[in-house]
């Protein structure tokens, strides 16, 4: 029994068992977790407001040179005929009668322009200078200033929304220009603004000449962005959807300046004490009018009638004082094309 071959066989069996058990134990042990740190390439990414155009795609510039539209934006609106109809009794068949039948006046506004048209976070209501003007017109139509549906629109949407009747009226710091006068009708001028520049107090900039090559922010589709592009010092225009987006970019260090109407800039400056207006006098004239459908002559005349009343009864001055915190100057004089 204990022959050489027998011993060899037993040894082989034992070896086989050992192999099998060995394989088992080896398979049981788990490999150590691979905890090699990844190569970290750190780069901070500064977020941008949605819809930024840097550099801005400019709106097709108003045709210049011979054949360019010439007009007087201050005297381009229709003179009211006769006395205003009593509130709630709009003449049959008129644009105002249709608005009255609908039950609300649809007004395109901005909810991002501090002091002129903005959403008051405390009340959730849209308030401001432009909004008060709109309430006055609703009151003249319905006898109730609150029969208004505010539609918040961006600067670029203002003309299309008037043209396709999404809104009856735009009250949104809108400059009357010859180019726009061919697409929409405007009321008489209700506010006389002008373009200025907002910069950081510590920016070291002193005038328009210093803006060369610097990024300057404005809302897409506004007159401001075209004016920036036309400056002799050649700043780089950056376009955003809303004026407050410009302030975000200035605070995040993505633009060097914001350039638009002094009215809007004062509203932005009020939200950030580290900013100031660059110029003591505005470098353009921006007369504001309410935009309406080109074909609604009756509405334009009606609105001009309401504005005339507002100028004479002290309503305009009251609105001015309420929002701009200073004694009201004389309201802009109404001038008419006819």
């Amino acid at each position: 029994m204990t022959t050489r071959r027998g011993r060899a066989l037993r040894w082989m069996t034992a070896a086989a068992v050992a192999t099998l058990l060995g394989a088992g134990t080896a398979a049981c042990s788990s490999p150590a977790a691979n905890a090699r740190p990844r190569n970290a390439r750190v780069s901070a990414h500064v977020p941008e407001p949605q819809g930024v155009q840097d550099p801005a795609k400019l709106p097709s510039p108003p045709a210049a040179g011979p054949g360019a539209p010439t007009c007087n934006p201050y005297a381009s609106s229709r003179r009211p005929t006769g006395a205003l109809p009593a509130p709630g009794q709009m003449p049959a068949g008129s644009t105002m009668a249709r608005i009255q039948a609908r039950g609300t006046l649809r007004v395109g506004v901005d909810q991002n322009t501090y002091k002129f048209g903005y959403r008051d976070p405390a009340s959730g209501q849209i308030v401001g200078f432009d909004i008060d003007i709109a309430h006055t017109i609703a009151k003249a139509i319905f006898g109730d200033p609150n029969k208004i549906q505010f539609v918040s629109i961006t600067a670029a949407q203002r003309i299309p929304d008037v043209a396709n009747h999404t809104v009856d009226l735009v009250a949104d710091t809108m400059t009357v220009t010859c180019d726009r006068l061919r697409q929409v009708a405007f009321s008489t001028i209700y506010y006389d603004a002008g373009q200025n520049v907002l910069v950081r107090k510590d920016s070291g900039l002193t005038g328009l000449a210093d803006l060369g090559g610097k990024k300057v922010c404005a809302a897409a589709g506004s007159t401001s962005i075209a004016n920036i592009a036309a400056l002799a010092s050649k700043p780089v225009p950056v376009a955003v959807n809303d004026w407050t987006d410009c302030l975000v970019m200035l605070q995040q260090g993505q633009v060097s300046a914001i350039s638009t109407d002094d009215t809007i800039l004062r509203g932005l400056a009020a939200q950030d004490p580290n900013t100031k207006l660059l110029l003591t006098t505005n470098f353009t004239k921006e007369p504001y009018g309410l935009a309406m459908d080109l074909h609604a002559a009756d509405l334009v005349e009606f609105v001009n009638g309401v504005l005339a009343q507002l100028r004479s009864d002290g309503g305009w001055a009251a609105i001015y004082t309420r929002w701009l915190n200073s004694p009201a100057p004389a309201p802009p004089i109404a001038q008419y094309a006819n």
Partner: protein, 425 residues
């Protein structure tokens, strides 16, 4: 040497020795293959149970927490005045949950693909930026400055354009890992079974040879070896069927259901954010309303009974999950009704009524829906955990049982053949 070998093989004891060596080698090959195979399956099942399964849940909660934060921030902005303590609490819970889930997924992603690692980096670097923007928005809002709304829009844009897509990628990577673990764990042990069958045939052949040579009907050692090997093979197959059914159930009633309901829940959140953002945009929110309708159609279909929720309702076997899904369907119907009225109010010029509905009845309907979907997810996840654990219990002992039976086979074969060889001394 060759001649000697030939002489040995030609002699009966020589042949028997050669046969024994062949039997032992086959037995060892079977044992090793079956053992390592079951070990590998065990590793995959353990991964389903402890790693890819839970990590899929973490990745899903990461996505959910982020989109809930977005919806909560948008809704908080909608209600006038300073935000309520409840809504601030909800936002902060979301951010905490997102941070925890991100840490879990990152810790578990040691073997993750480079793409997933890059996405995790995006989440880790952009989440603090997002919360910073929300805080800036909050501060400006409290001061009454409209620039707060601009910061909130920027935050929401960052969330929707960067954070949520990254979280979505991480989630689908985890889901793929879970699926591949599941498939690997449930793979049939073809090679081992084939080797086992060959070894079994060799044992039968050896016994027939010995019966003819020795005129003894039964060799007890070899018979025992045959029985042990047969038992090993049968056991291996039974265990595989059991494992397979548990894993299948873990997937069909567990993880797939969790995924379907999680997708529904994310749809609901998206629709909720859209509803709020439509009102925040105030007239220029047409795109958000379109997205709301699209998301709703995705969730319940055009008829209100199909869509994601309809598909999820068709599969579950568990009564708790079925109840939760049925409740969710009626929540959606209730919410849509409120939403339609809310839109009519807003479009008709009654903005304050629309805001009241959005922060009141629509908010309640959404919360019910979210809670019911969460209950369905919890129930499905419990099934997953239970079935994965059952699969783990099954596969856990397969290896050791197969080794013991293989050792018995080897011992039986060695003893049985060696007795015969000894008779020739």
């Amino acid at each position: 040497m060759v001649q000697r070998l030939r002489a040995i093989v030609r002699s009966t004891p020589g042949r028997l020795t050669a046969a024994l060596i062949a039997l032992l080698l086959l037995g060892i090959a079977y044992g090793i293959t079956a053992f390592t195979g079951s070990n590998e399956a065990n590793a995959h099942v353990l991964s389903v149970q402890d790693s890819s399964g839970p990590l899929t849940v973490s990745a899903q909660s990461l996505y959910r927490a982020l989109s809930d934060a977005d919806a909560t921030a948008a809704t908080a902005f909608l209600s006038p005045g300073a935000e309520t303590a409840a809504s601030r609490q909800r936002y902060e819970t979301d951010i905490a949950a997102a941070g925890t889930a991100l840490a879990q997924v990152t810790a578990g992603a040691s073997d993750a693909s480079a793409i997933s690692a890059q996405r995790l980096d995006v989440l880790a670097t952009e989440l603090p930026v997002y919360t910073g923007l929300v805080e800036t928005a909050r501060t400006n809002n409290r001061l009454g400055y409209p620039v707060g709304a601009a910061y909130l829009r920027e935050a929401s844009g960052l969330m929707r354009a960067t954070l949520l897509p990254a979280a979505q990628d991480v989630y689908s990577t985890q889901t793929q890992r879970l699926r591949s673990d599941h498939n690997a764990g449930a793979r049939y042990p073809y090679v081992a079974v084939l080797l086992g069958v060959v070894a079994l045939a060799a044992l039968v052949f050896a016994q027939r040879y010995l019966t003819r040579r020795t005129r003894r009907l039964v060799n007890p050692g070899l018979a025992a070896a045959t029985l042990a090997l047969l038992a090993a093979l049968i056991y291996q197959n039974v265990a595989w069927f059991d494992l397979h059914s548990h894993l299948d159930s873990a997937q069909a009633d567990g993880s797939s259901q969790v995924q379907a309901l999680a997708a529904a829940r994310i749809d609901a959140l998206q629709a909720r954010a859209d509803e709020a953002l439509t009102l925040v945009a105030r007239g220029s929110g047409g795109a958000f309303e379109q997205d709301f309708q699209k998301t709703m159609a995705d969730l319940v279909g055009a008829d209100g009974e199909s869509g994601r929720l309809g598909r999820a309702a068709a599969t579950p076997t568990d009564p708790a999950v079925r109840t939760a899904i049925r409740a969710a369907s009626s929540d959606v119907a209730a919410w849509r009704k409120v939403h339609t009225a809310l839109r009519a109010d807003d479009d008709g010029g009654n903005y304050p009524a629309a805001v009241t509905a959005a922060t009141g009845s629509a908010s309640d309907a959404f919360t019910h829906l979210d809670d019911d979907l969460a209950a369905g997810i919890r129930a499905s996840d419990a099934i997953f955990t239970e079935q994965a654990a059952a699969a783990g219990r099954t596969i856990h002992i397969v290896g050791i049982v197969v080794v013991i039976l293989t050792l018995l086979t080897l011992a039986g074969a060695a003893i049985g053949v060696q007795r015969r060889i000894a008779e020739y001394r």
